[in-house]
Symmetry: C2
Subunit: 327 residues, 2 copies
Amino acid sequence: MAVSVVLNGTGGRKVTVAPEKAERIREIARELRYQPNHVARTFRSGRTAQVAVVFQNFGHFRSHSSYRGDVMNGVMDALFPEGYTLSLCPKLMDERHPDAISDGRFDGVLWCRPDLSDASATALQHARVPVVMMHAPAGTVLGVPTFCADNEGAMRRVVAHLVSLGHEKLAFVIDPVSEHSIEGQSRAEALKSAARRVGLQEPDVIVLGQDHRILSRYAEPDAPHTALVCFSDELAGFVLKSCEQFGIDVPGHVSVVGFDSSPLCETTRPRLTSVAQPVERMAFEATTHLLSLIRAAEEGKPSQSATSTLYDCVLDIRESTAPPPAH
Amino acid sequence: MAVSVVLNGTGGRKVTVAPEKAERIREIARELRYQPNHVARTFRSGRTAQVAVVFQNFGHFRSHSSYRGDVMNGVMDALFPEGYTLSLCPKLMDERHPDAISDGRFDGVLWCRPDLSDASATALQHARVPVVMMHAPAGTVLGVPTFCADNEGAMRRVVAHLVSLGHEKLAFVIDPVSEHSIEGQSRAEALKSAARRVGLQEPDVIVLGQDHRILSRYAEPDAPHTALVCFSDELAGFVLKSCEQFGIDVPGHVSVVGFDSSPLCETTRPRLTSVAQPVERMAFEATTHLLSLIRAAEEGKPSQSATSTLYDCVLDIRESTAPPPAH
DNA sequence: TTGAAAGCGTTACCAT
DNA sequence: ATGGTAACGCTTTCAA
């Protein structure tokens, strides 16, 4: 009816309403406290103006990590000025409902969860809405653009720093959960390849579960490694704590490097040297790209081939790295 | 049709379908990659299974404060197991669209934004969905339940701590934005009343904008106050920085107390004594209550009178408080 | 310029 | 047991 035209400015822009009638409509609407029903409009138009964000390791982000906050800041900065709503949906977080992606609720999905199962991968690939991934290398899922830290470059910087201090025997430390994630594999490989580049022996990969006794040997002069490069700051934090318990001096006996350069790094003793990914910027640009894909899809444009973007990481050098012990 | 019954288990539970037909339906659905349209179901049922959270001072939460993360953790812990989706909506964050609350998209709203304008207050009161507020004293908006820190109790603890150290001249420090918020007023009043209780002179209220020169006098022996109780950790952090610039020793010349006991408190020099609110628990319980209101409304139960819950705060004593300087 | 009608996908109800 | 029909609120198209 005319009401729709007057109040919501729609109506194929071919319809005009007499000014006085329009005024009367507005008045009555005010009187009745009329609110256009957003769900009905969404239903009719097929446009939800809503974007979902899916996080990895959901429970883990209760820690002091600022990761989730950084992602959300970037996402909101991209979404809100464009009028999009951000949605965190339990079904999407749960591996068991992978095709909730395409249930019509979301115009697009930002998938920050490289630990994907086969079912999720299939669902992502067949999603009826645009999807963008963070923290996954190019081509992880066919047709899905990726925004990822340059793990190779990051590990080259880590190795350069450690080598400049005199280290030769490195190890990569990872937790059993992340071990099988794409990002975990990618960082482990990147460290190995960076070490190879400078002629170092290949770093070992240490999977560190509940039992940290393996760390106890690092006080001894014949320790197998003098520097531990950790998958995350959180893990590095646990390593520091265990070292303290075992009477191992960091960085005197062994150097420790984290990943993310979160606020946690400033609170540990010693303060933690760590790789900084520009998480907020990655999230912002990934989301912006997602919006452009959404608009293209709405205008019926053919989907372009998937792009992939790598982000340079810097090494924030703090106090947990130093020359290895002299023999 | 039968399809609805078979695939979505609905259909007034009076309808039955022959097993073989049901199987055929399922098969075809699989073949077509059929996905029930969630928007249509929402439209039809009027139930969105979506709850909105509205934050205060949106821009401010880019800081190291863990506030927003704490709230979100509590909210998600309450929502996700019940299958509700969390939504952050730019319209709700924006004062100009207050009645987006009732546009049908949300089954309920958690309003963490005591800095409300008159328009928002009216919108909250007339909302067609249940609303719950955090950080606002009882009765802030008629009919809206509140979940709030016990500012009175918190300030009594702060005063007790400072008095035990020997302080007599206190001030409340607040930024110009928070000054007019309900929570700002409430904490200022709470400090005054706590001081009065123990026979201290009434604390001054210092509104601290960009210009911190007013702090320079605290190095002098006749400084008007020996302890500054700040509205937030963030503000306290700025105070610490300015003090350092002016050569004022904290806690030697003046003691500083924050509010929130966020991770920031561990990173400042000296580490910041601060009041801890159980933000995550508050958010969890507020959200749980919201869900119960939503269910009651769905079942057509009359709305109960609004409850209000106060949360005990503890004082985390760190390094920024000490006895006042001897004259 | 205005009004009437169809349809989006789902589900509840009521005839068969 | 089965399947047809109407309705949710909105927007667009078409006819008056």
